[in-house]
Each structure stands twice: as structure tokens, then as C-alpha cells.
């Protein structure tokens, strides 16, 4: 008995040690980024691996330099607007399409859903040129709408929500039908609220992918006033290519919104990943 208890305790300690090591490994790049942001350029390129902390004081002015050089308020605003509209549009269109594919019967349903699946199977780069041409011909280059455009409809979201709707019991909808509830009514008042966790997952996935998206903002937003954090940061890479503290200060500022969003929606993030079985 005592041996079993000791084994369990030992396993628990071992698990915790492994988890602490893993957490440390995950945190090292972030710590390195923040510490480098506070060093001088000379310190940042020092080959001594134990030169971890700044020796000549903490250079907070690196943040001020980046903040002055690039209008971070505008970059934050553009990024948050893009994330907000992409999440709203993706959830709205995916939930309606998912309900139709998961619950309704209509001619051509299988063919249409196969087309949705095909879209998921081809590389997203294939769509870049037609999407760029559409945005360009609509006169939407250098606008928030141009940034949001590729994220308005999502094949992955449609698939995720379809699976969510299919997993719900038929009885609920049948009961509502017997009570005289219309199809939109059933969708809005009964089925959609029950897929909240799938929609939260989709929202999280969409937000993270929108935040990380680099190529699309680089193509459609050439103006500094309309670009996003990822594209802005990529531009800085050229300008401050060899000034690592400035680059890292910019990177630290750029990840701030995502960290704040994560802290606020931590529970939903974990639930979302558990629901969809995906990774961010």
C-alpha cells in the first residue's frame, strides 16, 4: 500500500518536473525577446551565452524609439479591427452554413459540401491572386475591408460548425418544430446557442490566424496607415535588420494584444482547443 502511494507520489513529482522543464523551454524565447529589448546593440550581439541580463542598465528607450518610428496606435487599431471583423464574419457565415449543411435537407447539399471540403484541401496561396484582384477591382486596397475580405467565409469554420450541429440531438429541433417554430427560429433560438463552444473555438482560431497573417496584409496594405502589426513588424525587419534590441522591442509591443486577449479569454482558449482538437 505504502509502495503504491510512494509510486504515485514519485510519478506526480516526475510529471511536474517534466512540465516545469517544458514550460521553461516555452518561455525562454519570450524572456530572451524582452531581455534583448532592454539591452544595447553591443550587448545583444555578445557571443557569451551567459550574458543574459543587460549589464549597462535597462534600456527602456528602445521601446520609445520604436513607438516613435512606427505609429503603434494605428498598427494596434488596424490589427484589432481586422481580428474583430474576421471573427464576427467567420462566426456568422460559418454558423449559418454549418446549420444548413448539418441539419437541413436541400438539393445539391452533398456537392456543395464537397466543394467546401475541396477548398480546405488546396493551399491557401492559390486563392491569393484571385482575392487580390477582387479587392483591387473593388477599390478596396489599403482599407480594413480589404484586410478582412479573405476571412469573411471560412471552409474550416463551416466544417467545424457542421460537426457541432450534427452532434446535437434531433429531439430538440423536432420539439421546436412541433411547437410551430420556423427554420430561422429554430436556428436562432434553439440550435445556435447550443453550438457556443464550437463558435468560441472558431473565434479563437480565426483571431490567432488573423493576427499571424503576414502575406495578405503585405499585399493589400502598402500604406503605413492601413497596415497591421505583422506586416509592420516585417517592414521593421528591413529597417532595423541589425538592431536587435529595437527589433525585439517592436516584437514585444506586437505580441502584447495577443497576450492580453489570452489572459482575458484563457478559459475559452483551453475549452476551444479541447472542443476542436486543433492546435494554434
Amino acid at each position: 500500500m505504502k509502495s503504491a502511494e510512494a509510486n504515485a507520489r514519485r510519478n506526480k513529482i516526475l510529471t511536474q518536473i517534466v512540465l516545469i522543464i517544458m514550460a521553461f523551454i516555452m518561455l525562454v524565447p519570450f524572456a530572451w525577446m524582452i531581455l534583448t529589448a532592454l539591452k544595447t546593440n553591443q550587448e545583444s550581439i555578445s557571443v557569451n551565452p551567459f550574458y543574459i541580463f543587460p549589464h549597462n542598465g535597462w534600456h527602456w528607450e528602445n521601446f520609445a524609439t520604436v513607438w516613435k518610428s512606427y505609429n503603434f496606435v494605428i498598427l494596434y487599431k488596424n490589427t484589432l479591427l481586422m481580428i474583430f471583423f474576421r471573427v464576427v464574419c467567420a462566426c456568422l457565415t460559418a454558423t449559418m452554413a454549418g446549420y444548413a449543411f448539418g441539419r437541413l435537407k436541400f438539393p445539391g447539399k452533398k456537392i456543395l459540401f464537397t466543394m467546401v471540403l475541396i477548398q480546405m484541401m488546396v493551399p491557401s496561396q492559390i486563392f491569393i491572386i484571385p482575392q487580390y484582384l477582387m479587392v483591387s477591382k473593388m477599390g478596396m486596397l489599403n482599407t480594413t475591408f480589404g484586410l478582412v475580405w479573405p476571412g469573411i467565409v471560412t471552409a474550416f469554420g463551416t466544417y467545424l460548425l457542421k460537426t457541432g450541429y450534427e452532434g446535437l440531438p434531433m429531439d430538440l429541433e423536432e420539439a421546436a418544430n412541433i411547437d410551430g417554430c420556423s427554420v430561422p427560429g429554430r436556428f436562432l433560438h434553439i440550435m445556435m446557442p447550443l453550438t457556443r463552444s464550437s463558435m468560441v473555438s472558431l473565434g479563437i482560431f480565426t483571431a490567432v490566424f488573423a493576427f499571424k497573417d503576414l502575406m495578405w496584409p503585405m499585399i493589400v496594405c502598402t500604406n503605413a496607415n492601413t497596415t497591421t502589426l505583422s506586416a509592420g513588424l516585417a517592414k521593421m525587419q528591413g529597417q532595423y535588420g541589425s538592431e536587435y534590441p529595437t527589433m525585439m522591442a517592436a516584437a514585444t509591443l506586437a505580441v502584447l494584444p495577443m497576450i492580453i486577449i489570452y489572459v482575458i479569454f484563457q478559459k475559452q482558449f483551453v475549452e476551444g482547443i479541447a472542443t476542436s482538437g486543433g492546435k494554434l
Binding site: I128, M140, M218, A234
Partner: protein, 230 residues
């Protein structure tokens, strides 16, 4: 379908009867309580359609000229001195069409792995869409881009004027399709002594201009060449 229509008519009739029995204030409350989502949806749809239609009708969509200055630390983007000087020189009315200059693109296909980055993919998208006119970059990088078949063969009839005018500055590259021809292809114009280097400081020493294979604004390209080689 007919059944659905009659059900919908019945629903509308029932709602009308309900509203008739209510006072004005109660009617408003009822509509807001039960139809707020529909109202919001319709409002959003109108806003989005209005926004799209407005932009499609009134935004400046076409380009006078679109240039990418790759691998430069200098200021050659929109609004830079180079931009304003060139627009003034060419006499472009930017309220009618746009002039786009992008000086924040870093890619070098001449090095291993030089095409595996978002900058290069964005550049390819711009070329393939037909919007891009020119790319300016280092000699080896441009030769590598030329070998990918994305730059105009300067011996092409379409740009015979440019080819003749700047024949002393031609830079060639390996052919895209060696089965078709193994002769070097003229794809670049050397601008190492141009104002891009001497006056605007976009490049330290050498730079070469290539014309996009799908560019249709060769007169603007010629104007740009004349401007930087004044």
C-alpha cells in the same frame, strides 16, 4: 414551398394582429425585443453593401505605375521624395489613378531558400495579378527572378523602344525554358549609376530594374527610366 409560403403569410398575419392590439410604445418595445437581431442584420447588410458599392464606384482603382524596390534600406515608398519627384516629373494625376511604390520587400531568389518567404510570395502575387510594373534589386537577385520567367524579355516587340534606348545597360539571365532556347534572355536594365543610387540612396552600389512579364504600362516604365537616368 407553397406550404412554407402560406405558413409565412400566416405568421405575418398573426404578428400584425398582435401589433394592432398594442400601443405605439408597446409596439416599439415588442419589435425591438423580438426582432433586434433581424434589425441589426439588415442594418449591417445595408452598411456593408453601401460601403462596397461606394468604394467600387468612387475609389481610385487603376494604377499609373507600380514599383517594388526590393532589399533597400532607403526611403522609396509612397510619399517619399522619390515618389513625389517622379509623380511631378511624369505629370501623373493621382486623383485619377494611383502610383504605388513599395520599398519594404526583402527577398533574394539567388540564394538558397530565398524564395521561401512571404515577401517573395507577395511579389509573385503582384506580378501574376498584372498590377506590378517594375522591380528594382541587386543584379544576381534580379537574374534569378528573370530565370523564373516572371520578367519581361526586353527583346520582346512590346518594349523594343526601351530595349533600343537602353541597349548599353542590358542585364541578361539564364532562359526559363532551356528546351525552347538556350540563349541568355535580356531581362534587366542596369541602374547602378542612376539617381536611385546617387541622389535617393536607395541602393549603395548596384541595382538593376526588371519589368514584370504582365506589365501593360510600358510607357510609365519608360518615363521612370528616363526620370532616374536624367
Amino acid at each position: 414551398m407553397r406550404d412554407q409560403k402560406s405558413r409565412f403569410r400566416g405568421y405575418l398575419e398573426a404578428e400584425r394582429h398582435k401589433l394592432e392590439s398594442l400601443t405605439g410604445r408597446q409596439k416599439l418595445r415588442y419589435i425591438i425585443d423580438y426582432y433586434w437581431l433581424w434589425i441589426l442584420g439588415i442594418f449591417c447588410a445595408f452598411f456593408i453593401f453601401g460601403y462596397v458599392i461606394y468604394h467600387a464606384a468612387f475609389a481610385v482603382k487603376d494604377f499609373w505605375f507600380y514599383a517594388v524596390f526590393a532589399n533597400t534600406m532607403g526611403d522609396g515608398g509612397n510619399g517619399s521624395r522619390l515618389y513625389t519627384d517622379f509623380v511631378d516629373y511624369a505629370g501623373f494625376d493621382t486623383s485619377q489613378k494611383k502610383v504605388e511604390m513599395n520599398a519594404s520587400s526583402w527577398f533574394d531568389p539567388s540564394v538558397k531558400g530565398g524564395t521561401v518567404n512571404s515577401y517573395y510570395q507577395a511579389f509573385v502575387a503582384l506580378v501574376e495579378s498584372g498590377d506590378l510594373d517594375i522591380v528594382v534589386m541587386g543584379r544576381e537577385g534580379l537574374r534569378a527572378v528573370g530565370s523564373s520567367g516572371r520578367l519581361l524579355d526586353l527583346s520582346d516587340e512590346r518594349c523594343s523602344g526601351i530595349y533600343k534606348k537602353y541597349s548599353g545597360r542590358i542585364v541578361t539571365c539564364e532562359p526559363y525554358d532551356e528546351e525552347y532556347s538556350d540563349a541568355s534572355v535580356p531581362v534587366g536594365i542596369d541602374l547602378s549609376d542612376s539617381r536611385l543610387v546617387t541622389e535617393y540612396g536607395l541602393y549603395e552600389d548596384e541595382c538593376v530594374l526588371g519589368i514584370s512579364a504582365y506589365s501593360s504600362r510600358l510607357d510609365s516604365v519608360e518615363a521612370f527610366l528616363d526620370f532616374v537616368l536624367l
